[in-house]
Amino acid sequence: MSALDSTGAPVQSVQPRRRAGRDAWRMLRRSPTGLAGLVLVGAIVLLCLASASGLLPHDPLAQEAAQRMSPPSAEHWFGTDRFGRDVFARVAAGVANSARIALVAVAFSTIAGTIGGIVAGYLRGAPDAAVSGITNVLFAFPPLLLALTLASVFARTWFTIAVAIAIVYTPIFIRVTRGPVLTLREIDFVRAARATGQSSAAIMARHILPNIASIVIVQVTLSLSWAVLTEASLSFLGLGTPPPAPSLGSMVYEARTLVALAPWTMVFPGLVMVVLVVGLNLLGDGVRDALDPQSRGKR
């Protein structure tokens, strides 16, 4: 609570300055949703790392004709598919593929979208009109259609898919950042910086960006989960990760005729996707709570 402001009297119990970042991290670990999200996402990340570094017992592409469509067992934890490939290894490799695409796509859209949003919101005028115009046009493209177009123009590689998803998500970052920047640019400390003669670029980097960082971070976690789903839908339609590399979406697609005979071929990729998406959403909620200064006060 506040005390009388006199010249030197401390307002509250004097404590050394705490880093806001460390504060937020502590809040995140204390919130049950954030912690649950962290555990789920952490488990998937470990799975990806294990697959990428070849630590898993089976090769996701190796076919064993004798083992076709065998149910889950000690040897094949998630069973095998109709070519006798290990479903666990394929799920691990598939989620790693999806995660890589989602990460690259979201990284690109975060950088492009945040810069676009800050520039548009801070400078207003012609830059704002240009950025907002592009945003509105981009919003008009359904992600699947855009990816289809890009995939037919360029070679279908994981990078093309990532770019397609990035283009679709960039306008979201522009929208999310531009609004708060419009408010920030009129706030006294920004006006004081302008009156001091600080350049627009410096104000955007030093005063605007740090003050919208929490919004961007929350948006990143939420966009990651959407990007995973978008990639899965593209793969399901045969537009995603090119075969034979596994992807969660294409695995579900391939398994659709086998649901009655070998349900594990569909259940496990679906389940892992759900775990990842739910985990990312919980993490996003946790991060938002942790970064919200209002909830930080009520410890």
Binding site: M1, L4, R17, D188, F189, R206, P293
Partner: protein
């Protein structure tokens, strides 16, 4: 004696914050007789609003009454079931909230919102409600009530909205009306009209009023009794006149002393008296003799209106051919109500707004035709301090980083030198050097404003533009900051452009005052001339509207 409408005894309210229990209000005793007005006075954080919301039993979730009783007409509200409490709110206890801008639903017609209170309490329905609403609007002094009742809040000015809220508070003819800073957000002339109306109405209806305010002179003028709160406790209470003339408690005395009034003299005569700072003899500033640091000539700002209807004006003139000069080492004030163009003028001088017409010359340099490099150099010599202490510092930068920023931008000193300069500046604004590493949220409003002043002084400017720089502060803190500004002015021979709506403060600090209205300067003069014998009717109206003008 009749039974009091409201009787609070030994009230203690505590908030649960994390694992801590913080007492916001302790041992408060208070009584209001029917028809009486009692003012609850205190600074922000003194517990006055908490006390009021306890009466309505509208405490935030984490607050609760830990001791004491609240009796309304003899009934203890702490033990009433929620359903009876709902009956009591509105019908038994009316409320006029603080902020007229956020307390009306923007999507509902004014008439509907007032009628809602009547219908909820079953006092009327249908066309009878409409008739009563129009009566109410008429009663609170809204012209053309039939047409006005059909309008939406955005079509009302701030003063009109507050009238509508008063109509709402009084709709069910409550026994008790709680008015929480009902006019703090309004201009003084509007404030006076609203308070006159409120006083007259409650007298007619015999309503008891609990008036919550930070303004002691206003309380003295409007209330029968005053209760002074400080840090959750009642430090003094009694009839208004007694409190005003014979304050007993030290804190009340401080409040009275700090409250700037029109009778107070200029805090410090600037340049001439620096050799004899204790000299009480006011020497005339004679501003014409000093050299002009800033010359403002025919300064005009026109905003185009984008959504102008055909036949309506397509532009709005915020500042209309304003001319004045700021002599070196002096304080020139622009005073006026909201919308008078005073802040826009300041922004143009600061180079934050484009100049539509006219000229600002800073030490001979015309801002409009200056080259970017010249402008950049000029900015070193003009620095701003803004109103809101909570917005004027970047929440993510430490005090030292904020203060050093102008030095960094203008590439003055190396990092060790800047560090030294920061501690010098902290010392100048009377903050301990240990504050350098703190973040703004660890400081109080007054301390933040000191940091903002230190930042403005970092480059040793010639002119500091103080745009309502003390308006958001509690009176005691305001007095300290004004003293600091006067002291800095005499030590560093600064010029101030002081923008304020508060005439009493303006009289305290200025060498020369310009009264602005609707973008134009209507009267100028030395504070003594202007306040003792105002010529323009608008100045006279402004002066008459200051609460407690005739009391002290």
């Amino acid at each position: 004696m009749t039974r009091p409408v409201l009787q609070i005894s030994g009230l203690t309210v505590a908030f649960q914050i994390g694992r801590q229990t913080v007492e916001a209000v302790s041992q408060v005793d208070l009584e209001i007789a029917p028809g009486q007005t009692v003012a609850l006075v205190g600074e922000s954080g003194s517990g006055k609003t908490t006390t009021a919301s306890t009466v309505n039993r509208l405490l935030p979730e984490n607050g609760r009454i830990t001791a004491g009783r609240i009796l309304i007409d003899g009934r203890d509200i702490a033990h009433l079931p929620e359903s009876e409490m709902i009956q009591l709110r509105g019908a038994g206890i009316g409320l006029v909230p603080q902020d007229p801008m956020s307390n009306l639903n923007p999507l509902m017609r004014i008439g509907q919102q007032i009628g809602e209170a009547l219908e909820v309490h079953g006092l009327s329905h249908g066309s009878e409600t409409d008739r009563k609403v129009i009566e109410l609007l008429e009663m609170v002094g809204i012209p053309e009530p039939v047409r006005r009742a059909r309008q939406y809040p955005h079509e009302f000015s701030g003063g009109m909205r507050q009238r509508a809220l008063i109509a709402m508070g009084l709709a069910c003819r409550p026994r008790l009306l709680i008015a929480d800073e009902p006019t703090s957000a309004l201009d003084v002339t509007v404030q006076r009209r609203i308070l006159d109306q409120l006083g007259q109405l409650t007298a007619e209806l015999g309503t008891a009023v609990l008036l919550i305010t930070h303004d002691l002179p206003l309380a003295a003028e409007r209330a029968d009794r005053i209760v002074v709160m400080h840090q959750g406790r009642v430090v003094e209470q009694g009839p208004s006149q007694d409190i005003l003339r014979r304050p007993q408690h030290e804190y009340t005395k401080q409040l009275l002393q700090a409250a700037p009034s029109l009778s107070s003299q200029r805090r410090r005569r600037s340049v001439e008296s620096t050799e004899r700072p204790t000299d009480p003899q006011p020497t005339d500033p004679a501003p014409a003799a000093a050299t002009a640091l800033v010359e403002v000539e025919g300064l005009t700002k026109v905003y185009p209106l984008r959504l102008a209807q055909p036949g309506q004006p397509t532009s709005f003139t915020a500042v209309d051919a304003v001319s004045f000069t700021i002599p070196a080492g002096r304080t020139v004030s622009l005073v006026g109500e909201s919308g008078s163009g005073k802040s826009t003028t300041a922004n143009m001088i600061l180079g934050l707004e484009e100049i539509s017409a006219g000229a600002v010359r800073f030490a001979g340099l015309d801002l409009a035709s200056a080259k970017p490099a010249q402008l950049f150099a000029m900015r070193r010599r003009v620095q701003p301090v803004f109103q809101d202490p909570f917005a004027s510092l970047d929440p993510r930068r430490s005090v030292a980083q904020s203060i050093a920023e102008p030095l960094r931008v203008h590439r003055v000193l190396d990092s060790a030198g800047r560090r030294r300069r920061v501690s010098e500046l902290l010392d100048d604004v009377a903050l301990p050097a240990s504050f350098a590493d703190r973040l703004p949220h660890e400081l109080s409003g007054g301390q933040r404003q000191r940091v903002a002043i230190a930042r403005a002084l970092a480059l040793e400017p010639d002119l500091v533009v103080l745009d309502e720089a003390v308006s958001a502060l509690d009176v005691l803190v305001q007095a300290q900051i004004l003293e600091l500004l006067a002291d800095l002015q005499s030590r560093l021979s600064l010029s101030y452009l002081f923008i304020s709506h508060d005439l009493a403060v303006v009289r305290l600090v200025s060498d020369l005052v310009h009264v602005m209205r609707q973008g134009q300067i209507v009267e100028s003069g030395s504070p003594d001339d202007l306040f003792d014998s105002p010529q323009h009717p608008y100045t006279q109206e402004l002066l008459a509207a200051i609460p407690g003008a005739g009391l002290i």
